[in-house]
Amino acid sequence: MPIKNYCFILITSLLTTNLFAQDSTDVMSSLEKETTKDETVYTNATFKTTRVVSGHSTENTAPGVLDFRINHRFGQLNTGIYNWFGLDEATMRMGFDYGISENFMVGIGHSTFQKSYDAFVKIRLLRQSTGKKNMPITLSYVPVIAINTLRPDPPTLPKPDFADRVSFTNQLIIGRKFSESSSLQLMPTYIRRDTISFPYTKRNAFAIGIAGRQKISRRVSVNAEYYYQLPDTKSPEATNVLSLGVDIETGGHVFQLHFTNSRGMIEKSFIAETSGRWDDGDILFGFNISRVFHIKKTKDHW
């Protein structure tokens, strides 16, 4: 009997000490596990800015932030030394983007190219996240309206109707940040063209874009963007746009430097109205500058 008792005590004491020998590290790791299950961590900075090169990325301007953007394209490199390899020429789009909420931003702009006005909204429908809510991709919808306001040339030609000047672009962006430094996105796009900007055959155009980002250091990344136009709806005069660029971040500014074969900086222009060819040397150097202003401070702070 006593031996049994001893055994019993020994076992119980072993068990109890074991039970309470759980140290702070164990407590902490179980707390950490709990919180990763309970919280949703959203993926940030899939791209550095709201644009890859000319087209939209999955990023939204943060709520309360006004982003003043200047996009600039010089002339074609193959115009030679007389044209200073394109630097004598320039087209520009100046615009303002504003983040209304976490998943909703708006923007307006004016381009010297075709004297166009444009406006867009970007709605983030799904956002890549891990934790409580696990979502592998970010999905955004970007409708763009653009108005070509060029006067008839020569002026004796009949003035086009307003309806002939207006074009619409509907774009979905499906993006994923695969690792800390690599992101990819696909952009199926439908364009309802205007009738005066480009020698079209059809008013409807379909394209699918692919774009990627690779970080090469904390502040520098390499970007690429390509849009493939479906042959059925592509104008015979048009080529597909390919742009390669570098993003450089310096505190409040982001500089995007790139080479592209497109002059236009509005969706319908660079996707469906590009006529330059990379293999002919119709390459343009360009840059985007973004400067953000905080209009509103973020909620629940100070």
């Binding site: 005590i9 000490t17 309470f20 702070s24 407590v27 902490m28 950490e32 940030n44 973020t298 702070h301």
Partner: protein, 184 residues
């Protein structure tokens, strides 16, 4: 005979129990403050995990870098992307011990000075034997801990580019306020 053993057992269990009093919180508060020539930056974190073992003096903290919130959205983005690299190093932790445990009476209301020493890890770099002081307050049996200390960015290999030197301080002041309502 049986009774004696039973008593022994009870003593044993309660003894072990008494030395295993671990408190924890999931809502600790940590803020940091950077005072530089051009701007002052403050960020708050309200979901700090912390444990305190009043038997051994073990004290631990853990937080997700992305949980720091800033008054400006771009500050938060730069903090995560450029400085803390929070995708690569998602957590900051402290694992240490109260070194003057004997001077703190957890059963009696009051405010006690406490010295804590241990390993502070952030941005993937651990600073061993990091020591700081603060206070432990007992009120109506409830424990809370407060501390204010400085962290040098260069100790954790966090680099500030020269152009940002007037915007971000080299030394960051950290404030910790945790109460421990839960017991394991």
């Amino acid at each position: 005979m049986k009774k004696v053993f039973f008593c022994l057992l009870v003593v044993l269990i309660t003894n072990v129990n008494a030395y295993a009093q671990k408190y924890f919180t999931k809502n600790g508060y940590i803020s940091f403050f950077s005072k530089a020539k051009l701007e002052n930056i403050k960020a708050d974190h309200n979901q700090v995990l912390s444990t305190l073992d009043i038997g051994t003096g073990d004290m631990q903290f853990s937080l997700l870098i992305k949980g720091f919130h800033f008054p400006k959205a771009t500050m938060e983005e730069h903090f995560n992307e450029d400085y803390m690299e929070s995708d690569k190093y998602p957590k900051a932790t402290f694992k240490g011990k109260i070194t003057n445990l004997a001077q703190i009476d957890f059963t009696k209301d009051g405010t006690y000075n406490a010295t804590v020493s241990g390993d502070l890890t952030m941005h993937g770099v651990t600073k061993k034997n990091f020591s700081t002081s603060g206070t432990i307050t007992i009120k109506d049996g409830k424990i809370s801990a407060n501390s204010k200390f400085n962290v040098l960015l260069k100790d954790h290999n966090i680099k500030i580019p020269k152009v940002m030197a007037s915007n971000i301080a080299e030394t960051i002041e950290i404030t910790v306020t945790c109460s421990y309502p839960n017991k394991t």
